[in-house]
């Protein structure tokens, strides 16, 4: 177990280093840097001025030097400065993280609270009308773009309440906050809940065919006890994987949903930074997103061993 953990940890680091190189190189493939954009926008071309700006930002250095500087800074907690706001990148990114984290947490809670029970119901009532309806709903959840669902929700709010529930000012009370975030969280979580539901259903169907389920029924265990204690407990492992993957990959849905609902979280910030070619922000944000994803995957792997004692990581 210890050897496995150490090996996994080093692979994790290796992956992160790989991502940092990938992102860094990709961003520098872009023809034209921030100096070009700023000068184009201002409509003035003074080569000396531009060269000075490039020097200030370190853009005149070879790409390898730029990379080493970035990673060196990263290890010291120095993420560089945003080109656009000229504030430290850390000061720009850090306050936005809790916003996105809350949204992601709510979305995940939504997907588990709806996905798992509905998946169980769908499996237990296999091939009934209810099962078909639930399956069509989950499939449409997987087919709808998250931003469109968000727009539809906005539309419904306009016609029912006459207001747009988009972010305008920071919420004051906890209740306000919950109210404000729960709608976009539902828009993001719907897709994940559809995925969780599908997987719970197929995993449950697999387990319900097992001999020990028949035994449990034969000894007179209640339907509820069979379904939830005997079957779901055994069916949950693949579901945990998918919840883990979804937790790490919720970012895609969050990017568009934060844009629709005007929420100032990290996901929307990434899009803004990409548009502005604000490298320090983009590369640090992408690293952050990757780190979260990689760590979650690691934790899910460990969770396996806890949930299923049959799994032993021997190496």
């Amino acid at each position: 177990m210890a050897t496995y953990l150490i090996r996994r940890f080093f692979l994790m680091l290796l992956t992160l280093v790989g991502i940092s190189v990938l992102v860094f190189v990709m961003l520098r493939l872009v023809p034209g840097n921030i100096a070009d954009i700023l000068f184009d926008a201002a409509g003035m071309i003074n080569p000396a001025e531009k060269a000075r700006l490039e020097k200030d930002l370190g853009l005149d250095q070879p790409i390898a030097i730029q990379y080493v500087r970035w990673i060196g800074g990263l290890l010291h907690g120095d993420l560089g400065y945003s080109y656009v706001s000229e504030k430290p990148a850390l000061a720009e990114i850090a306050p936005r993280i809790p916003i996105t984290a809350k949204l992601a947490g709510l979305a995940l809670a939504f997907s588990v609270l709806f996905g798992v029970p509905l998946g169980v119901i769908s499996a237990v009532r296999q091939n009934t009308l209810l099962d078909y309806v639930l399956r069509v709903i989950s499939l449409s959840g997987l087919s709808m773009p998250a931003f469109w669902l968000g727009l539809l929700i906005l539309m419904a709010c306009v016609s029912w309440f006459g207001t747009l529930p988009i972010y305008t000012a920071p919420p004051k009370t906890l209740w306000d906050e919950l109210l404000l975030y729960s709608i976009p969280a539902a828009a993001v979580g719907f897709r994940s809940s559809a995925l969780v539901m599908r997987l719970t259903r197929s995993s449950m169907l697999e387990v319900l065919r097992q001999d020990y389920i028949r035994t449990a029924r034969a000894k007179g265990a209640s339907r509820r006890s069979v379904n939830y204690h005997h079957a779901l407990r055994n069916a949950i492992l693949p579901v945990v994987t998918v919840i883990g993957i979804e937790a790490a990959f919720l970012m895609g849905g969050l990017i568009v949903t934060e844009t629709v609902f005007n929420i100032p979280g990290v996901a929307r910030f990434l899009v803004e930074a990409i548009r502005w070619r604000d490298y320090p922000i983009v590369q640090n944000l992408v690293m952050f997103i990757a780190a979260v994803a990689v760590v979650i995957n690691f934790v899910v792997d460990l969770l396996y061993a806890v949930l299923d004692p049959r799994i032993k990581y021997a190496d």
Binding site: M155, E206, G252
Partner: protein, 297 residues
């Protein structure tokens, strides 16, 4: 006894036309949802191919008088801010959506197959390097990697296809690799080697065809994902540039303002995206049942 060559690459049994109808009926009764999905896809392909015949207005020409026109007889789905006919834009948008979806899926799968086959068949340090590369690519959410790629390559149709294909590569690479690892040990591979076949030929002629079933299932699922990713990229303004009528672009940011005044601009492009992805999902599920019984639920 048939020769090794013959046994391994036995041609697929093609049903004579006389047996086609009963077979078709069998498929329809066994997989009604899959057939429904295929029908949806067929409608969109039809719309994309015959877009010129199905529409009366040019999807890109603007008309200030029609700005935000409500749906009526002449413009059944209304007109957008620039006075462009929404119906025409949706029909022409099918071209963009399918071109990007199919292009990105094909490119992503081709790269993934090449990587997976090399990795699984050669093993050793090549496998190690490719697997780390796949790990790196898979550690980022599809949309995040596609966003960075799209920004790096710049807005153009071809670039969008490439930007969406790259994040799809690790998935097919993984599937092909694991299948190749299992197939590599099969007796027919050993037999092919025994008769002196080159490693490359074994990989391409014997191993690759046996990985096609899971690949088709995966590719169908990725088609839906690629179309969704394109719509998200275009929605964020980093995908297909104007004036191409992309469904995602039609829903672009200003849509939050149109929610109040012009709901038809919000509803219809979204319906088109969801419907085409719904079709690929239904089709994908049916194909998985047909081709990959192990994954059946």
């Amino acid at each position: 006894m048939t020769s090794v060559e013959e046994a391994a690459v036995k041609p697929i049994d093609i049903a004579p036309v006389a047996r086609l109808w009963p077979q078709l009926r069998y498929v329809v009764t066994r997989h009604p949802l899959g057939v429904f999905g295929a029908a949806i896809m067929a409608i969109f392909v039809f719309a994309a191919v015959f877009a010129d015949l199905l529409t009366r207005y040019d999807p890109v020409s603007t008309n200030a008088a029609l700005s935000l026109a409500r749906p009526d007889a002449a413009h059944p789905l209304g007109a957008d801010f620039m006075g462009r006919d929404v119906y025409s834009r949706i029909i022409y948008g099918a071209r963009i959506s399918l071109a990007v979806g199919l292009g990105a899926t094909a490119l992503g799968c081709a790269l993934g197959v090449a990587l997976g086959l090399v990795s699984g068949f050669l093993g050793g340090w090549v496998d190690l390097v490719v697997q780390r590369l796949v790990d790196v690519m898979q550690a980022l959410p599809v949309l995040v990697l596609a966003l960075v790629m799209a920004a790096a390559l710049g807005p153009a149709l071809g670039n969008t296809i490439v930007a969406i294909s790259i994040p799809l590569v690790p998935y097919s690479a993984r599937v092909i690799r694991s299948n190749t690892l299992a197939l590599r040990e099969m007796p027919f591979v050993e037999a092919a080697r025994a008769v002196g076949m080159s490693e490359f030929r074994i990989a391409v002629r014997h191993v690759l065809p046996n990985t096609l079933a899971p690949l088709i299932v995966l590719a169908t699922a990725q088609l839906g994902a690629a179309i969704l990713t394109e719509s998200s990229l275009s929605f964020l303004g980093l995908g297909i540039p104007e004036p191409h009528p992309s469904w995602g672009r039609m829903l672009s940011e200003s849509a939050a303002e149109y929610v109040r005044v012009a709901p038809w601009l919000v509803v219809f492009p979204g319906v088109a995206i969801s419907l085409v992805v719904f079709g690929t999902n239904l089709l994908g599920d049916a194909l998985r049942d047909l081709l990959d019984p192990r994954l059946r639920d």
